[in-house]
Symmetry: C2
Subunit: 502 residues, 2 copies
């Protein structure tokens, strides 16, 4: 057993006025952080604590429970408490949004001819990124190449080319390879959706799917309700189509606020569509509870407003959890389901798909008018592989890997970033949404990081407002290498430099 | 020498009242069509004709000249006239449009919510086609698979995959593979255009290029001037973007009427873009003379209206002619150049590209918002092959093959279709624009042909008006097999059945 900790120091953070259990918990917390109590070591027993510190049994228990809740201790049956790896030590959860006030930001007038707004933000971002030389990319929301089945896809592509020597030179005349659509329909069953191959249109990524879905149900000038924050690509699509985004308060824990959306429906009659990411939201990482999904679907159906569901990351929940989609509750075809194989199967294939519900025919026609049918090789390659159980094994491996990387990165952020940093640890996918302390503006940090070759996605991009200008999205698609760890230390160093607060 | 033709029969078409030379020409024409005078055989000499038919020397000469003009006879110096393959026997040129009247059809109000208009036409067309089983496809505007370098592309794709084992699983982060953009820029030099790789954005086919080009320079409600007739895909894009097409009279010989466009600019202030296909127009097949191109570019520049050039078929002119594009005359960046590799290199790769001139940055951003960057394999495969001289040899072979097929098809149509059928023989590409006799409506013919497994593109599709409801586009991408010939005979048979005229 380790040496017993020194008596409570007067410099420890909780003031002497704070309850005894808090002071004692802080005392042991610091000991664990300082390595005085190292991971794997036994915590003094509850009984011993009562003796050492002259506290009641309930106070000693409270201390242990508190440290257990923080992930610093773990109870082993009949053996007492043991010190854990000090992860999530300062992982302070994100705050919940205020529902009433946020909706007052009605979307402003739109000047399409000068492409201000999100286009400008994204343009500036892309241009800045292109000027800098890249050492460590923490901005790309996809796994490292090694995380995907390169060899198997290579073999599948070669096999397809051998079996169909005329594939590259033959016209394509279908809304997607039928084998791919069949396997997509089959695999959607697990997420609670019943499709046939005929219900599915294959697209160039989820980006094209979202474009077409929005074009199917809106006209320029319409308002589209989205989560706040939300994926900048979606805001860009909305702006480029001459639509207006109405950002709905969204909980970092449970996703889109159904109450706020209901309020928005009552107060904003120009809303013609809702786009939501119920599963493993980008950038929040949260999963909407199933009963919220049911309410969301019912609310949209009742209001006669189509719901477009972006399920890009939904297959990447930790462990063997298969998340149910909002579409799973759709009885009337009012939900347009958009998905991607880019994050799950292969970032290089550029495959997505859309199941358009009652707008299927219109979506089919818009896909045809916008880019004709997808080329066949990528689809047939994907179908070959996704028909096998190797795909199931790949997905489980990918989930495990992303979980490990996510936890490592969260721990590093919690360890290196200054106090006041907030983030949640999502239960899947590959991104962390980090709130900087003291409303520290992210833009100078982003620019300084770029100069060091480190790329993150500034929170600025995830809203048309300035609401997230003190956030950043950090992705953990790459293994948590020394380079990644060093980059996070450097980011922390930049945050330690005092910048002018807003 | 063949037996001399029988004396003029009283049942021959020209009435006895018609001039003697006409009656005599008709007599020999029929003999040639009937094979009594076979190709390669000598025509009775002029002197012999005077003796046989008791006509003057000038009448006999007139007969020979007439049949020579029709392509039935060819003069050989000092040997007299010989019977030719009876091609283009009844290839009556298409009529020129009337400029004044056509422009009165202002584009009507647009109801996007119900997708009437061209979407409906194309939907009906696609649905009808899908219901029918296909025997002979005369509607597809691309070559047969054998016309493209399947093996070489297959090898190139395999090589690319071997050299870049992580290609399919790596994110794509550029506006197109730089090697492909470089070779496209280099090959554009021959058409009079100077690009660098940086000027080019790779797209999913010319369809996506046109979508993005129009989105870059117009807003919903704007008017876009197009040729009449024009490619239905373009009309569909225009409609799907909430734009209005103004159809400008277009000569089947020289393309878009510059005078009519000038008039339209003066009378239709809502015109915000012009889309033209100056080289090997779809469906007319005509090539705009270079001085027209120069005037077109200057007119648009002077009016401050961007010109979008669709050059999908421009590389497919007969022989070793390299057509100059309108873009070649662009000094100010006012021309957005859209092109495709689908017809020239490989229908299955789905590659197109756009050089946006002064709208380049906007086009880059719209491409990003619409479908992100194109996947890499198809691009690298195309680049591998297009860098070699094998590509030049392929294009020359393809042009020769299409020329042969086009002439064979024109001859068959001229031979089988009823009198009054009109068509021009284009100097490149793979389509014939056929005017049916007596304003015969094409739709019943199209439907009846589908029942026989024959697919053509009804003229109905090529305009928002009913102006081309008695036309059809027939493509000759496939070798002129017995099946193709039989299909044309069957089409002719359907046309022989009297249908109600409009």
């Amino acid at each position: 057993m380790a040496a017993l900790p020194p008596p409570i120091s007067p410099t420890s953070p909780p003031s002497p006025a704070s309850p005894l259990y808090q002071r004692l918990a802080s005392h042991y917390r610091q000991a664990i952080h300082a390595g005085v109590l190292a991971p794997g070591e036994r915590m003094p027993s509850v009984r011993k604590l009562t003796l050492l510190h002259q506290v009641s049994l309930s106070t000693a228990l409270e201390v242990c429970h508190r440290l257990e809740d923080e992930g610093l201790l773990a109870a082993k049956p009949r053996s007492g408490y043991f010190v854990q790896q000090p992860r999530r030590a300062r992982l302070v959860p994100l705050r919940e949004p205020e529902i009433g006030t946020a909706l007052e930001d009605a979307p402003g007038p739109l000047d399409r001819t000068h492409y201000r707004g999100i286009h400008q933000k994204v343009s500036d971002y892309v241009a800045q990124c292109e000027r800098a030389s890249l050492v460590t990319n923490l901005a790309g929301a996809y796994g490292a190449p090694e995380a995907y089945p390169a060899q198997a896809l290579h073999r599948a592509a070669t096999r397809v080319l051998r079996q169909k020597p005329e594939l590259l030179v033959s016209a394509v005349n279908a809304q997607g390879d039928v084998n791919l659509r069949t396997v997509l329909a089959r695999r959607a069953l697990g997420a609670g959706m019943r499709f046939t191959a005929e219900d599915i249109v294959v697209t160039y990524g989820c980006t094209e799917a979202l474009n077409i879905a929005l074009r199917a149900v809106t006209s320029p000038g319409d308002t589209v309700a989205v989560e706040s924050p939300t994926y900048y690509g979606l805001l860009q699509i909305i702006e480029s189509l001459g639509l207006r985004a109405l950002e709905i308060p969204t909980s970092p824990a449970t996703g889109l606020s159904i109450e706020a959306l209901e309020l928005a429906f009552r107060t904003h009659p120009a809303i013609k569509a809702v786009v939501a990411i119920p599963n493993l939201h980008n950038p929040l990482g949260c999963v909407m509870p199933d009963d919220h999904k049911a309410r969301l679907v019912a609310l949209c159906e009742g209001a006669g407003i189509p719901l477009i569901e972006d399920d890009t990351y939904g297959a990447l929940a930790d462990g063997d959890t298969q998340l149910q989609t909002a579409k799973a509750w759709d009885q009337t075809g009012n939900v347009i389901y958009c998905c991607s194989l880019r994050k799950t199967l292969a970032p290089g294939l550029r495959l997505g798909w859309v199941a358009g519900g009652r707008w299927h025919a219109r979506i089919q026609m818009l896909k045809y008018a916008q880019s004709r049918y997808n080329e066949a090789l990528a689809q047939m390659t994907a179908a070959e592989y996704m028909q096998t159980s190797a795909y199931d094994r790949h997905i489980l491996r990918l989930r495990q890997q992303l979980k490990t990387q996510r936890e490592q990165m969260a721990e590093a952020i919690a360890t290196y970033f200054p106090a006041g940093t907030r983030l949640n640890l999502p239960q899947g996918s590959m991104m962390l949404w980090v709130e900087l302390p003291d409303h520290r503006p992210v833009q100078p940090v982003f620019s300084a990081a770029l100069k060091l070759g480190i790329r993150v996605a500034p929170g600025t991009l995830f809203s048309n407002s300035a609401r997230y200008d003190h956030f950043m999205r950090i992705c953990c698609g790459d293994p948590h290498s020394k380079a990644v760890d060093a980059a996070l230390r450097q980011l922390a160093g930049l945050l330690a430099v005092k910048t002018r607060s807003r």
